[in-house]
C-alpha cells in the first residue's frame, strides 16, 4: 500500500493534524505511522489569554503538548524582588514540557497562554509508546531544550568541517600523530603497578594487551579516579578486572578526522592504533589531535608577527580565514573565534606599524588606538578600520608640529592596512585624520566636548569612540585618558540618559507578533544581523558599562563585569551573553559560507534560508535583546 492511499483512508482531521506536525521538528523526521499515532491519540485544548496551562503545583506532568496556535510563555519568580518574569516562549509547532515529562516530575516553570492558544496534547501512555518506537522523537525529547543550542553548534561545526578541505591537517593519516611504543601491560598486573608505570612515563593511559599484542582493554586516569571514588576495589586488584574492555581501535591509515569524530561521538579521549593484524602499534589522544590547531594559531601569529614584507602579510590573510574555519570546526564558540580574529588582526596591525617605523620612524612616542568593533575585540572577517593616535608631545615641540610628523606616517599605515584587508573607513575615522591624531590633553578636551554637548552626531560617534583600546605603544596614556572619560560619564546623568535613549532606538527585529521585522535598507526579506541583531546588545551594554565604571570594551566581558558588580542579575547576564554569542555565531557562519561561494561579505541574511531551529534560536535571541532594552528603559525611565 502506498503512502498516499494509506493517507486517504485516514479521516480528514487526522490528515490535517499530520500535515501540521510534519512542518515542525521533530515530527518532520518521524515516520508517517508514528505521526498518525500521535494525531489519532491527540486532544486539542484551548487556553484563553492568561490561562495557566501547566503549573508546578499540578504534580508530575502527565501530558506532552505541541502548540497548534498561539503562544505559551514560561514564568519564573525572580529571587531578588519576587516579581514574575518571562523565561521562555513556546510558539507554534514547538513542544513542551520535555525535562519534566522525562524526569516524571512537576514542571518547575509556570506555563501560561499568551493570547488565545490551542495545544495538541497526548497522554503519558501515548508519549511513552512514541518515545520507545520513534528514534527521532526519542532523540529530540532526550536532548531537551538545551540540545537546541547543541544542534546549532553541531551544524556550525559540520559546515565548517566540510569546508576545511585538504589543506587541513585533520585528513593526514593517523600514524603521523600516534605515539609509537605506547605504554602497555598484561591483564594480571595490579592497578598500583600499572599506575606507577603510567606515572614514570607521564602518560594518562595504559593499554592492556594479550600475548599476541592485541589490545584487550584500556585504563586511564579517569578510570582510576572512578575506581577510587566509587571504592570499586583495592589498588592491588588485577588491572584486567577494572579496565575498559574492547578499546576503540583504528588502523594507522585511518585519518585524524575519523579519529576526532569517533572521539567526539563516544567521548573517548584515547584511541588505539593497530596494524592489519590488530596488533597494537600506537596510541592517539584527544590532546594530540587538537593541539595541532593551537600550533596552527601560534604559528600563524608568529609568522604574521615576524613577516618582513607587506606582501607576506597580505598573503597571510587567507590563512586567517582558514583558521577561523578550523576553529569553528572544533567547536570553538563565537566569542573565542572573534577574539582570535581580533588577536590576529592586532598582530597584523602591530607588524604593519613596526615595518613602517623601521622604514621611516617619525620619532614620536605614540599609542595606536582602535575604536568600535576592533576596540571591543569583536571583529569578524568583515571589518573596516577605525583607528586613531594618542601621542606624547616631546619637549620643545607644539602639538601641531608633532601632528605634521605623524600624519604622513599614519596615512601610509592606513593604506597598507587596507591592502591587508582592513577596508578604509568611509567616515574617515582613521589615524591619518588630523582630528583623530591628538595628544593626551587634546583627547581629553575632545571627550569633554563630546560628553557635554550631546549632539545627535556625537551620539552616533559614541558607538565608536566609547569602545576604545590600545593596540600598539605604551598603555599608560590611554589608561589615564580612559579614567578621566569614565569619571566624566559617571557624573553626567544627562549624557547617560541620552546614550540610553539612543541605545533603544534600534529595536530588535521582531514584530509584535514575534515575526521577524526585515531590515529597511537591505535586500527584500533580509535581516541585518549586525545592526538589527548585535547592535541592540552592544549599545545597551555600553551604557551600563560606562555608567558603572567598567573599563573594558568587549561586550561579553562588559556583561560579565556588570554581573559581578551586581548591576545585572547573573541569570540575565548569562542569557544575554548566550543570545549575543548565538547571533554572532550565525553571522560568522554566514560569512564563511559567503567566502566559500566567493560572494562579497555582508551582514544581511534571509531568515527563510535558515532551518526552523536556527530561526527559532534567532527569534529567542532577539527577544533577549528586547528584555535588555526594557532594563535600560526602566533604569533610565525612558
Amino acid at each position: 500500500m502506498t503512502a498516499s492511499s494509506q493517507d486517504s483512508a485516514r479521516p480528514q482531521n487526522t490528515r490535517a493534524i499530520m500535515a501540521f506536525l510534519r512542518e515542525h521538528s521533530p515530527f518532520s523526521n518521524m515516520d508517517d505511522a508514528h505521526l498518525a499515532h500521535y494525531a489519532e491519540h491527540a486532544s486539542l485544548r484551548f487556553y484563553a489569554d492568561g490561562d495557566v496551562v501547566l503549573s508546578p503545583d499540578d504534580g508530575p506532568v502527565q501530558r506532552f503538548y505541541v502548540v497548534k496556535q498561539g503562544r505559551i510563555r514560561g514564568e519564573r519568580e525572580r529571587d531578588k524582588d519576587g516579581e514574575t518574569e518571562t523565561t521562555f516562549e513556546i510558539s507554534q509547532g514547538e513542544c513542551f514540557p520535555l525535562a519534566a515529562l522525562i524526569g516524571e516530575r512537576p514542571t518547575r516553570t509556570l506555563h501560561r497562554a499568551s493570547g488565545d492558544t490551542f495545544c495538541l496534547s497526548i497522554e503519558h501512555d501515548t508519549f511513552v509508546m512514541l518515545f520507545s518506537q520513534s528514534d527521532p522523537f526519542r532523540d529530540f525529547c532526550l536532548r531537551g531544550v538545551s540540545s537546541l543550542l547543541d544542534q546549532v553548534n553541531q551544524r556550525i561545526q559540520t559546515g565548517a568541517m566540510a569546508s576545511i578541505g585538504s589543506s587541513n591537517s585533520l585528513d593526514t593519516p593517523l600514524e603521523r600523530y600516534a605515539i609509537r611504543n605506547p605504554i602497555v601491560c598484561s591483564p594480571d598486573l595490579p592497578v598500583r603497578k600499572a599506575v606507577a608505570r603510567m606515572h614514570e612515563n607521564s602518560v594518562g593511559s595504559i593499554v592492556i594487551t594479550d600475548d599476541k599484542r592485541h589490545p584487550t582493554g584500556i585504563f586511564t586516569l579517569r578510570d582510576l579516579r572512578t575506581m577510587v571514588a566509587e571504592e570499586k576495589g583495592p589498588l592491588d586488584t588485577p588491572i584486567g578486572q577494572v579496565m575498559t574492555r574492547n578499546p576503540c581501535c583504528l588502523t594507522a591509515n585511518a585519518d585524524a578526522f575519523e579519529a576526532a569524530m569517533l572521539m567526539a561521538e563516544h567521548h573517548f579521549a584515547h584511541i588505539c592504533v593497530v596494524d592489519d593484524d590488530h596488533r597494537l602499534i600506537g596510541m592517539v589522544s584527544e590532546r594530540d589531535l587538537f593541539s595541532l590547531q593551537r600550533v596552527d594559531l601560534v604559528n600563524l601569529a608568529r609568522t604574521i608577527g615576524t613577516a618582513s614584507h607587506l606582501r607576506t602579510l597580505v598573503s597571510l590573510r587567507k590563512d586567517v580565514s582558514r583558521l577561523v574555519d578550523a576553529m569553528l570546526a572544533h567547536g570553538a564558540d563565537s566569542g573565542q573565534v572573534v577574539k582570535i580574529i581580533t588577536t590576529l588582526n592586532d598582530v597584523t596591525v602591530r607588524r604593519v606599524l613596526e615595518l613602517n617605523i623601521k622604514k621611516n620612524d617619525p620619532g614620536i612616542p605614540f599609542t595606536w588606538l582602535t575604536f568600535g568593533s576592533e576596540g571591543r575585540q569583536e571583529q569578524t572577517l568583515l571589518t573596516d578600520q577605525d583607528n586613531g593616535i594618542l601621542f606624547q608631545t616631546p619637549e620643545g615641540m607644539t602639538e601641531q608640529q608633532v601632528r605634521e610628523k605623524l600624519l604622513p606616517f599614519a596615512e601610509t599605515v592606513n593604506e597598507e592596512l587596507a591592502e591587508c584587508g582592513f577596508t578604509l573607513c568611509k567616515g574617515n575615522i582613521m589615524a591619518s585624520n588630523p582630528k583623530l591624531c591628538l595628544s593626551g590633553r587634546e583627547w581629553d578636551d575632545w571627550f569633554a566636548r563630546f560628553i557635554d554637548a550631546s549632539t545627535p552626531q556625537n551620539l552616533v560617534y559614541s558607538s565608536i569612540f566609547l569602545d576604545m583600546r590600545a593596540v600598539f605603544g605604551p598603555m599608560e596614556p590611554l589608561e589615564a585618558l580612559l579614567d578621566k572619560v569614565l569619571t566624566r560619564i559617571r557624573k553626567n546623568d544627562l549624557f547617560q540618559k541620552m546614550l540610553a535613549g539612543n541605545a533603544i532606538t534600534r529595536k530588535p527585529p521582531l514584530t509584535m507578533f514575534r515575526n521577524f521585522r526585515y531590515a529597511p535598507d537591505g535586500k527584500k526579506n533580509t535581516l541585518d544581523l549586525k545592526r538589527q541583531g548585535l547592535a541592540p546588545f552592544v549599545e545597551a551594554v555600553r551604557v551600563f558599562a560606562l555608567a558603572n565604571s567598567v573599563g573594558t570594551a568587549n561586550t561579553l566581558e562588559r556583561m560579565q563585569q556588570l554581573a559581578i558588580k551586581g548591576v545585572f542579575d547573573t541569570k540575565d547576564a548569562n542569557a544575554w551573553q548566550e543570545a549575543y554569542s548565538l547571533i554572532q555565531a550565525i553571522r560568522m557562519r554566514a560569512h564563511q559560507e559567503m567566502l566559500d561561494r566567493g560572494d562579497p561579505l555582508s551582514n544581511y541574511i534571509n531568515p527563510d534560508d535558515l532551518n526552523p531551529l536556527d530561526r527559532r534560536i534567532l527569534r529567542e535571541s532577539f527577544r533577549q535583546a528586547q528584555r535588555l532594552q526594557q532594563k535600560l528603559e526602566i533604569t533610565y525611565q525612558l
Binding site: 482531521n13 493534524i17 489519532e40
Partner: protein, 236 residues
C-alpha cells in the same frame, strides 16, 4: 472509538452486515445536571445536496467529540454516504464530493445506524444547528424510522453570547474562525468544518466556565436567556 469505526469500516469492506441492535438504539440525553466539563458533546457538520430539507439530502457526515474541555481526536466520525441516485450537480463545487465518491461511500442505513450508536444520545452542537437538525432528523426518520429528539445546541448562537462586541465582520463560521485566527484544513469538508466548529466551542466553554456555568442545564439556560434578550431587542 476510532478503532471501532475502523473495525466497522473493515467489516463493511468485507461485505458483512452491520450487526446493529435496532431495538436498542441509544436514547437522547437532556441538558440536565451533568457537568459541562465531564459530559461528552458531539460537534457535527453535514454536507448536503442543497439547502432545502424538504427535497435535499445528506451526503456526508463529519463529527468530533468534546470531553473534559478538549477535542478527543480518537473519538471522531467522518463518512461519505453511498447515494449514487442523488443529484449533486448544484453543490458539487462547494463540498467537492462528486458522483464517483457517492458510489463508493458507505451504505446510508448502516452509516446512520452507526452514527446513532456513536453519538450515544449525547447533545449535538452545530453551527446554525437548525439546518443540520432538520436534515439529520429527516434522514433518521426516513431511513430508520427513528424519531427520538436529540438535544441540539447552536454554536452560532453561543459565540456572540459569550464573546459579545467581537468585531467579526459577520455571523458566519468563516467570520468567527478568522476572529480566532483558526485555520480550516478543508472548508466545506464536513469533518473539517465540524473540527473548526468544535474549536470555537472550546473557546465558548472556556469563557462559560469563567462566568460560573457548571452544568449543561446552566449552559442551555444561559443560551435561552440570551435568545430572549435578543428577541426583546428586536421587538424594542
Amino acid at each position: 472509538m476510532l478503532e471501532q469505526i475502523k473495525d466497522w469500516i473493515e467489516r463493511r469492506k468485507a461485505g458483512s452486515t452491520g450487526g446493529h441492535d435496532r431495538e436498542h438504539l441509544p436514547t437522547p440525553k437532556t441538558a440536565g445536571d451533568q457537568r459541562l466539563s465531564d459530559c461528552r458533546l458531539i460537534v457535527l457538520d453535514l454536507e448536503t445536496t442543497g439547502l432545502n430539507p424538504a427535497k435535499d439530502n445528506v451526503i456526508a457526515i463529519g463529527a468530533v467529540a468534546i470531553r473534559h474541555n478538549a477535542i478527543d481526536l480518537s473519538d471522531q466520525f467522518d463518512l461519505i454516504l453511498r447515494r449514487p441516485e442523488l443529484d449533486i450537480s448544484e453543490t458539487v463545487l462547494i463540498h467537492g464530493i462528486g458522483p464517483e465518491a457517492l458510489t463508493q461511500g458507505h451504505e446510508t442505513e448502516d452509516a446512520l445506524l452507526h452514527l446513532l450508536e456513536w453519538m450515544n444520545g449525547d447533545p449535538i452542537l452545530a453551527y446554525h444547528s437548525a439546518f443540520d437538525q432538520k436534515f439529520l432528523e429527516k434522514a433518521l426518520k426516513q431511513t430508520l424510522g427513528y424519531t427520538q429528539p436529540h438535544t441540539w445546541l447552536d454554536v452560532a448562537e453561543m459565540l456572540p453570547a459569550y464573546y459579545p462586541n467581537s468585531k467579526t465582520g459577520g455571523k458566519g463560521l468563516d467570520n468567527w474562525a478568522d476572529f480566532f485566527d483558526l485555520e480550516v484544513s478543508a472548508r466545506h469538508h464536513a469533518a473539517a468544518d465540524a473540527m473548526v466548529t468544535a474549536e470555537l466551542t472550546l473557546a465558548v466553554i472556556n469563557k462559560a466556565q469563567k462566568n460560573g456555568v457548571v452544568s449543561l442545564r446552566d449552559f442551555n439556560d444561559k443560551l435561552k436567556y440570551y435568545r430572549q434578550l435578543k428577541n426583546i431587542h428586536r421587538q424594542g
